[in-house]
Symmetry: C4
Subunit: 194 residues, 4 copies
């Protein structure tokens, strides 16, 4: 079973998610610069989520690039990941409109956490469908990024009820850690070729 | 006539359907956890519809994978299926916002029923365009799943006017039956190769 | 210059247009069957537009299938067609919400007319970019459908101000004429092969 | 790393952006021609933005056509461009609904300016990833269009606070300059082949 349509469908869904998030930024009625001010937290949470969805697309791209075969389990593991990504616009909008209040920030972290877990499940499903010769398995290795992120999300969720800005700082921090694309896969692929 | 653009267009439409359903889950104005509570039935119906659209994409994927030629009739049978799928966001939103009330639940079942019939028509159109040597025909076989589902939907629609939860239970049951991807096609293809 | 991305981009835009039209059908607040009744004209105009966009996608598919090269002019002629198609959701929503009132019905006809003209321009641009050996030119031939449709739209637009139902009847009639996919192109291609 | 998915994802995002802009044109409640009148500035700004997004898609198409390899930096430079393009619907809606008032017109220019800068960064990232033999580098050459546009945008932004129509005139002018597709790349590619 080829991976072409899986990639195409995922590209479509991720492209729509990343674009409809901007619809939460409702056009204000006034024409002054001040009428834009209330939108600032919505805009900031949009930027954060845009970067996160971008990271997921990027890593999804790399992960499937290193994959040959796709099984039925992989199709559903992929849909499971897309499900949690599809909740990004809602979580982003709620957090932005409530100016990073504790509960919306915690929910945002929970959606990030679930997406991270779903990504890990997809990774395992891909490795399992490839067998012991999996390029992906070698490439991922110990995967300290993938293990550290959920931990950071959990700390962020817990922190929302004490200090407000800690959660936002951690979301930004994890995004920065991931912004560096997953060169591990590129490296292993290059090593194979040589 | 190649099947590439048919797949690409279907992927696009299904990707948009699965994603805009989430827009029915309007961001609440409050910032407390309680303000999310009224959204719970909307969320639950979203999860159900996400799984159903996922099943359709999955089976569509498998069905076209087993197909070589695409005729004009197939193009329209496919658009007919996409039409009924495009009504999922509306039916899902109406059912969710009315907390699974009888009439919205019946309409939801009716849309599921029409989509199932449209899928069956597409299957027949594909088999007809392939002729007697159709891989798909062999793969589908007696197709008990495809015959059982409409029956279940009809029972569910009828039941909404007596006991409320029966319809929901049947929608979940049919989804569970289909969650197992259509391995029949994979099997026949593998047998052919060997 | 390959036609792959032109097809992919057009598929994307047409897939979104056909799907966001359904968003004009707002989920009603009541849970009774009566609360759906006011949506009936919106639903009927949605069905009509779904068929029209389906026809455009179908013929676009066939037309580009018969094409080899794509020039800069073709890219813009294609965007011009997509522009008029992008106004379908607006025209459909306005006509449906006003129960096929004269002015919205006339505007709907005007958008249909402009899309038909844009399609004809794209056809000419494709033929011009191919030169005298154009398969498309032979296939299109006298193109009575393409010449008749704009005439029917103009009559429909004019009629809206006298008798209301004539315009709707003509829109349905033209859709029925076109529902038969453009087999001319398939025929010429087949003849070439033999 | 292949460019296929980068193109597919960009096509998806640009297709959605160009289509959801039309959603800012809300269906009016009245059925008379007069009820459409307040939408005229929204429609005009939609046309302008449609042309701009079309230009970006067109040039993006040409630019990637001339590219072979795609690096991690390119993926992020591309997402950065898509981010600014994703703000087009918001900026277009705000400018249209406020009848080209100074501040919304200035913001529109700022988004155009940022998109132009992001496009230039992507161009440089592509050239860098290709090395000294870059077809793209030769093709782009002195790139007077790319250098002139930001200058025009800055003048337009500054002018909004003195004379209102100058900014709009400049946005239209720059669009007209770019409407001529980037034939430079086609020329260099043709020269290579001969």
């Amino acid at each position: 079973m080829g991976k072409g349509r899986l990639e195409a469908f995922s590209d479509g869904v991720i492209a729509i998610i990343i674009t409809i998030m901007v619809l939460e930024m409702k056009v204000p009625h006034g024409e002054s610069l001040e009428s834009l001010l209330p939108l600032l937290p919505v805009f900031m949470s949009y930027v954060l989520s845009f970067v996160y969805v971008g990271i997921y697309w990027n890593n999804h791209h790399h992960m499937l690039h290193a994959t040959g075969r796709v099984s039925g389990t992989v199709l559903w593991a992929n849909l499971h990941l897309l499900f949690w990504l599809s909740l990004f616009p809602f979580a982003t909008g709620w957090m932005g409109e409530n100016h990073f209040a504790p509960m919306p920030s915690a929910l945002y972290g929970a959606v990030l956490l679930m997406a991270a877990i779903a990504y890990w499940i997809l990774e395992q499903a891909l490795i399992a469908s490839e067998g012991s010769a999996s390029v992906l398995k070698t490439a991922v290795g110990k995967d300290w990024k993938g293990k550290l992120s959920p931990l950071f999300y959990i700390i962020a969720i817990a922190s929302t009820f004490w200090v407000q800005w800690v959660a936002q700082a951690m979301y930004v921090l994890v995004a920065l850690i991931w912004l560096i694309p997953d060169r591990r896969i590129e490296h292993v692929l290059q090593r194979r070729e040589t």
